[in-house]
């Protein structure tokens, strides 16, 4: 089935591949700037792909964290033919990889760098802060935020999604123990990853349960890290011959999705709907695949709850059964479809989910070190952000 999907010249002309990956250090505390980190990751992705940085002719920057002109200077790009920035919060990352893919498939560019991340911990504005700095971030529909939410103490994403979580528990009777299972699995995976912040720092069920609620029903360890760091990929046409000496990783498909009433969770008729609900259905139908066909899933995990809901909307189980799925089938090391083999945003670092893309490529290349899965031929990556916007990548080793 896989060879059928990834092979064939005609099909390859409509596909892109990821030929390079790069990661800065993942830390909490840095003197480097967001620009420094993004450029470092971009240069490392070029080196990994075995291409001259000057030969890059396209740049996509999720959420416009850095102007394309800065890449021109740092990489020595002589003819920038394509650039784009999108704005879906955390969901921008996988969507940006699809923008890069579209650019190289259409011939508008041939080598496109996609770089994400920044100084989320050291940059002076933390979403976890009590100083109100979250209000200075760029959110969709700012009038709704400033007139209807902030006056009532609703300011940050973990609060938005907690409203969905309470409704989910009420409407489906879901087991809240699934939240804990996701937190523990992330730590279990992190022990195999040299970059993981929580490497060698196990989390026990007792520690999880005794941690305070931050925003009900989320306790401390339901919430991801805030990190400094950047990651990047280089996207080329699937027909290009690789120079990096790696196994080729092809983007079979993907895209972005926006829920009904995409900028207002409160008024969304079905408050549980996600952007992923739409894009997953669309992409799997196009590819003739089901989520359960993949060998691993790197799922955007800003909060444990968000993992459970995405597993449901991807089709690993029905709505309301995410907890049963993670408690029964498992998502940790050794499970049928391991989730976030690098530790994810919860236990490795918050690199805007580009660390999920990089880990997917490593697994498909067979280069994931201690975390390498015995079988890694087909995988998926999700990104998630703003008012539950979503994006999805399906990747295969070719």
């Amino acid at each position: 089935m896989l060879s059928g999907l990834a092979a064939g010249r005609e099909r390859r002309e409509r596909q892109a591949q990821i030929t390079g990956i790069g990661e800065s250090e993942y830390v909490r505390g840095t003197a480097l700037s967001t620009e420094d980190l993004l450029l470092q990751a971009a240069l490392l992705a070029c080196a990994d792909a075995g291409v001259e940085p000057a030969s890059v002719d396209g740049v996509v920057v999720p959420n416009g964290k850095l102007a394309a002109e800065s890449f021109v200077h740092a990489l020595g790009i002589s003819d920038l033919r394509f650039h784009a920035a999108n704005a879906m919060g955390g969901a921008s990352t996988a969507a940006a990889v699809m923008i890069a893919a579209a650019a190289v498939i259409s011939g508008q560019a041939s080598r496109v760098v996609v770089a994400a991340g920044g100084t989320q911990y050291s940059g002076g504005r933390r979403l976890s802060s009590a100083d109100g700095s979250a209000a200075t971030f760029s959110w969709p529909a700012q009038d709704l935020r400033t007139h209807l939410e902030r006056p009532y103490g609703l300011t940050v994403p973990m609060q938005w999604y907690s409203l969905q979580a309470t409704r989910w528990l009420h409407e489906t009777g879901a087991d809240p123990a699934g939240l804990r299972a996701v937190a523990l699995a992330a730590r279990d995976h992190a022990h195999s990853n040299a970059r993981a912040w929580f490497r060698d720092r196990p989390l026990t069920a007792e520690q999880y349960d005794s941690a305070p609620y931050v925003v009900f029903p989320f306790r401390l360890y339901d919430i991801c890290l805030e990190s400094d760091g950047a990651a990047a990929v280089l996207v080329e046409p699937a027909t290009a011959s690789g120079h990096g000496g790696h196994r080729s990783v092809v983007l079979l498909g993907g895209g972005e999705g926006h829920a009904d009433v995409p900028d207002d969770l409160v008024s969304r008729p079905d408050m549980l709907e996600l952007g992923l609900t739409k894009v997953a259905r669309r992409v799997f139908a196009e590819l003739g695949l089901a989520a359960t066909d993949v060998d691993f899933a790197q799922i955007y995990d800003c909060f444990t709850f968000v993992v459970l809901r995405q597993l449901e909307e991807l089709g690993f189980c029905k709505r309301g059964e995410g907890s049963d799925y993670v408690l029964d089938a498992g998502i940790g090391p050794g499970s049928t479809v391991p989730v976030n083999t690098h530790g994810g945003l919860l236990a490795q670092a918050h690199i805007a989910g580009m660390n999920h893309v990089v880990e997917a490529v490593r697994q498909l290349r067979g280069d994931a070190g201690a975390a390498q899965l015995a079988r890694a031929d087909l995988g998926l990556v999700t990104s998630y952000g703003d008012m539950s916007a979503g994006s999805l990548l399906v990747l295969a080793a070719a």
Partner: protein, 152 residues
């Protein structure tokens, strides 16, 4: 509403309760309603469709003219959260506090703080009614259990 910015505050020199500045014209009738103790949404002058929250165009007929419409100020808790950590200087001194999404029927939901005596009584489906609070010279809506009287 903009003229109220010089009004006396409830904590001189301290943090102010967040309030939009400047107020968007689309929200002026709603905010004026809170001052009078009523909930005001928008109604399309062309097709009479109710609109909440305010948007530039009517979702039914793409009309762009609206008039204010007062709606009933009671409903059911659709969902809620309880916040134990401050993300804003004014609210940081008030944790834990509840946030309620009240379903008011006709597809209209409004958010506000929970004004019941006990956060532990907050459940989905709880009947609630609007109560109006003042802070920093501005009016805000909150939600109290429907069985509590207006003077509680």
């Amino acid at each position: 509403m903009d003229s109220e910015q010089g009004a006396p505050t409830d904590a001189a020199g301290g943090a102010q309760r967040p309030f939009p500045g400047p107020v968007s014209p689309m929200f002026a009738d709603y905010l004026d309603g809170l001052e009078r103790g009523v909930l005001v949404v928008r109604e399309c002058t062309a097709c009479a469709a109710r609109q909440w929250p305010p948007r530039t165009l009517c979702a039914r007929c793409r009309g762009r003219e609206f008039r204010p419409a007062v709606i009933a100020d009671h409903g059911l808790v659709h969902t809620f959260t309880v916040v134990h950590r401050g993300f804003d200087p004014w609210f940081a001194d008030r944790v834990p506090y509840g946030i309620v999404v009240a379903d008011l029927g006709d597809g209209i939901r409004m958010l506000g703080n929970y004004l019941g005596a006990e956060l532990g009584t907050l459940v989905c489906g709880l009947p609630v009614r609007a109560r109006y609070e003042r802070s920093g010279g501005h009016a805000f809506v909150g939600w109290a259990p429907a069985d509590t009287g207006p003077e509680c």
